[in-house]
Amino acid sequence: MNSHLLSIIVAAPAIAALIVMFISERDGANSRLAIRLVSLVGAAISFAGSLVAIRTYDKALGGLQRVEDYPLIPSFGVHVKLALDGWGGPLLVLTGVILFAGVLASWTVKTRDREFFALLLVLTAGVFGVFVSQDLLVFFLFYEIAVLPMYVLIGIWGSSHKVPARGPFKFVWNIFDIGGKQYAAMKLTLMLLVGSAAIMAAIFVLFLKAGGTTFDMGVLANTKYDRQTQIIVFPLVWLGFGTLAGVFPFHTWSPDGHASAPTAVSMLHAGVLMKLGAFGVMRVGMVILPEGARYWVPVVGAVAAINVLYGAFCAMNQTDLKYIIAYSSVSHMGVVMLGAATLTTTGWNGAVFQMVAHGIMTGLFFALVGLVYERAHTRAILKMGGFANVMPGVAAFFTLGCLSSLGLPGTAGFVSEFMVFLAAWKSQHYFWAIPGVLGAFITAIYVLRATRSIFWGPGPSHDFHDLSDAKKTEWGAIVILGSCLVILGFWPRLILDYIDPGSVEYLGKVLAPVSALARLP
């Protein structure tokens, strides 16, 4: 059991998905319950497994632990090699939490629920796989498995909404049905797949230049690629994975996608999937291509700073609640990339911590937004007001999320933003910290404005006076995520202790040649 723990974590959702597909829908309420219970059990196994994995990870030892190696196509060097590193543990737990909460939050899905849960579980199996796979090709394979179900999930269960046509390109709105769920799904899929194409080309180069015998990421990281190659390939990896991480200007799929996606899918997508992108940039791009990373880091950091500011400004201009949260994700993912671009231990710790903190926070946000939308049937914040009087629980947790989003001390958001900005200030490009902090300030404006106009102020208008607070399973999702935010805020060491050895080790690889040079007379 123990030696196969990682495969169990990855396989449990996939197997649950398979079982769900074979549950007959004829029994009505019973089979609906069965579908949900099987999904929940699958999610719970992975969640518990990830907790066990992180508990048993030897922090002092660091490095890769629990290595499992299954040859898939040995003649071409493809192995399903799974192992846990310092970063993997916290991210596994994050995925476990979000999946568990996501299943709870989508308890009330009505149409075609069997397929919904199956796809959700398949997607998560892909995410788990990315975080633990140590073989570049398998990493990519899991990455694709995580990305593609989104198309169907948004296209079927998503929601369409009107986006007013503006600007010189008004006619485009009519051609493409902007705001429609099919449009959002297609845009998201195609943009992410263009990214995948870039990644695939990069993988070819990495594989062939390393001798063409193995995809093992450890081996590739120890291969010395020549400077020219690194400088050409790094942007491919950065923009390829970066598309999923919402790197400006390739973030445009994210607001449309998140706004159209159903609750659990937004939770998983903003909460976990966008992290895959950032994780890929750091784990594949920076660690395997250190020279390329050092060459491109000024650009990566500058673009990340733009992300933070631009995302925040865009969020300020929105009146649709989901768009606000979606743009805030773009802004917060900028913080992750900024931390990565500092190439310092503090920055990397902050970046990975921000992945976890933002994942939980966005998960909470989208769960709550879904809840509000389901009851009020609107997401226009200007129409709402005073909801706290009818749904106090939701209001409280939403406010908690907002506080974490703007980085209030005592919440998880503070820890990561503080670390990243500190690292940015101390790095060679100290001026990056300025747009970063400015972005955090603007975040405060828009999240507080949104909270106020939805929940506080005079009581709800007569359209909304009969809204109810969260119910049964919904409480489960909210409380788990909300408490994680506070716990991590007060006790960041809980996961930082695992992240740190990972960051130190990987950063050592990125910076090694520099320190060797520095030692020369």
Partner: protein
């Protein structure tokens, strides 16, 4: 006697054709008049199916991987065995898929259809082992001519059902168009081969590269590329593909879209890699251009299609472009991946056509509307379609992903980086139209079409395809190892010889 043993597999297929003919002769002839309305059982079809299945199984227990026949014109090899199995599988799946359709459309002349299928298959079986240009031409025509007849076979039928009722005689148009373009392309091939053999002084593949290529022979080579390229539907010889696919009966098209293409690829491989691999610099530029055009035109023209058969037709043109990319690599891995891709394509495309056929039979014709609500009407069928589309688009955990990945990797390794990058970009663009089909099947639910009820044989064919697409996607190792083995077997000695020649050249 030894020669016969070497040729046992092609001979067995021919024998099966004779058996099928005899069985057909022994069937009672329906009396003219009233009794004709009763549909006779597809006896011959089942004979063919069982025979092909048996041959496929036996080929694993009795492999003939060495030996020559017909004075060296035919040479057995693992490469040939691999492709022969592929053709047998294609024939088997095509027969399973077409069994009930043939019985329904042409109830009283089923026997000839199966005879044609087996003749065509016999031609294919000889092709991969053929080492002489004459034998290649003869076998290629043996494969091709029955296909024209089969395309026009249901010539008196109207479209089965559907909103847009099609005019009669589409099958005739399909057959005629295919025949005219096919006959022209045969003439072009022959002309090219005449130039080639005339200048090189031999018809034997092994001796073809011995003398340097004269300009006239190089011209002949281009003609050959065009002529054979017609059969695999590569640009600019692709015009017949969408029309024929639209006009002929769809289960036959399912077969037509995979097996003859694989056979055409095997001919290209024989002539260009085995015969003229040493003169790569002559044929690589036109081949690369054609590969690029096939990928581009196929993917771009598939975008606006509204008829599913035409869409799959253009997608098939693009898929052949990917194969050509691997072929252009001209090394062991490239050849192995050509075989691997063709195998993946066989199951995927055949399955996709059969699903589309099943859905269209239930109503709505071959339009996107016929797929509307398929996920509700027939979840299994919708899921199968999903798998085939994912595989065609090259998405992980189905076999198409590995196929595309390794085709591109092989070409990249051989230095065809520009071709690979354009291929990857075009593949992503191609995703759009596969997603449109998916969208029709999974995200629309308009109108109230009946539940498709495929007959058992068709179900079996689709099931086998899904099994292969998913099973080999999760566990591609045996297939990749087999195809690589075939590639190495054929290319390793050639590459060694070419390297030696290069060394000699530098020493001089």
């Amino acid at each position: 006697m030894k020669e016969l043993a070497t040729l046992w597999l092609p001979l067995a297929v021919s024998a099966l054709a004779v058996v099928a003919l005899l069985v057909d002769l022994m069937l009672p002839v329906p009396p003219p008049g009233g009794a004709r309305s009763k549909t006779p059982a597809p006896v011959v079809g089942w004979v063919v199916i069982l025979g092909l299945a048996a041959l496929f199984c036996v080929s694993f227990f009795h492999e003939t991987n060495s030996g020559t026949a017909m004075h060296g014109a035919y040479r057995a090899s693992y490469f040939a065995t691999y492709l022969q199995r592929l053709f047998l599988m294609g024939g088997l799946l095509g027969a399973l898929g077409g069994l009930d359709d043939v019985a329904k459309r042409t109830p009283h002349r089923q026997g000839e259809f199966w005879l044609m299928l087996l003749s065509s298959l016999a031609g294919m079986m000889i092709l991969p082992g053929a080492r002489d240009l004459l034998l290649i031409v003869v076998a290629f025509e043996l494969m091709g001519i029955p296909l024209y007849i089969m395309a026009a076979y249901s010539k008196t039928d109207a479209e089965p059902t559907g909103a847009g009722v099609a005019p009669r005689g589409w099958a005739s148009e399909a057959g005629l168009k295919m025949y005219l373009v096919g006959a022209t392309s045969t003439a072009i091939t022959l002309f090219g081969l005449a130039l080639l053999t005339g200048m090189q002084g031999t018809t034997k593949l092994d001796l073809l590269a011995a003398t340097p290529l004269s300009p006239l022979a190089a011209l002949g080579l281009v003609f050959v590329l065009g002529g054979v390229g017609y059969k695999i539907g590569m640009v600019p010889f692709h015009m017949w593909v969408p029309d024929t696919y639209q006009g002929a009966s769809t289960p036959f098209v399912a077969f037509l879209s995979v097996a003859p293409k694989a056979a055409g690829m095997s001919v290209l491989t024989s002539i260009f890699l085995f015969g003229l691999g040493a003169h790569k610099d002559v044929w690589l530029p036109p081949m690369a251009i054609i590969a690029f055009l096939s990928m581009g035109v196929g993917n771009l023209l598939a975008l606006p299609q509204t008829d599913l058969r035409r869409l799959l037709g253009y997608s098939g043109i693009a898929q052949m472009g990917y194969v050509l990319v691997a072929l252009a690599a001209n090394d062991a891995m490239g050849l192995g991946m050509v075989l691997f891709f063709l195998t993946a394509y066989l199951f995927t495309n055949l399955g996709a056509f059969l699903v589309v056929h099943t859905a269209a039979e239930a109503g709505g014709g071959y339009t996107f509307a016929s797929l509307s609500g398929l996920h509700r009407r027939s979840p299994g069928l919708a899921l199968s379609l999903l798998m085939f589309l994912l595989s065609l688009a090259g998405i992980p955990f189905v076999i198409g992903f590995w196929a595309k990945l390794y085709v591109f990797l092989a070409a990249w390794r051989a230095g065809l980086i520009g071709l690979v990058i354009s291929g990857i970009v075009l593949a992503v663009m191609g995703l759009f139209y596969y997603l449109r089909v998916l969208q029709a099947a999974y995200m629309t639910d308009e109108g109230d079409l009946p539940t498709p009820q495929p007959p058992p044989a068709l179900q079996l064919a689709i099931g086998l395809c899904v099994l292969a697409v998913v099973g080999l996607g999760l566990w591609p190792r045996p297939l990749i190892e087999a195809s690589t083995r075939a590639g190495v077997e054929m290319m390793a000695p050639l590459q060694a010889a070419q390297a030696q020649a290069a060394v000699k050249l530098t020493q001089r």
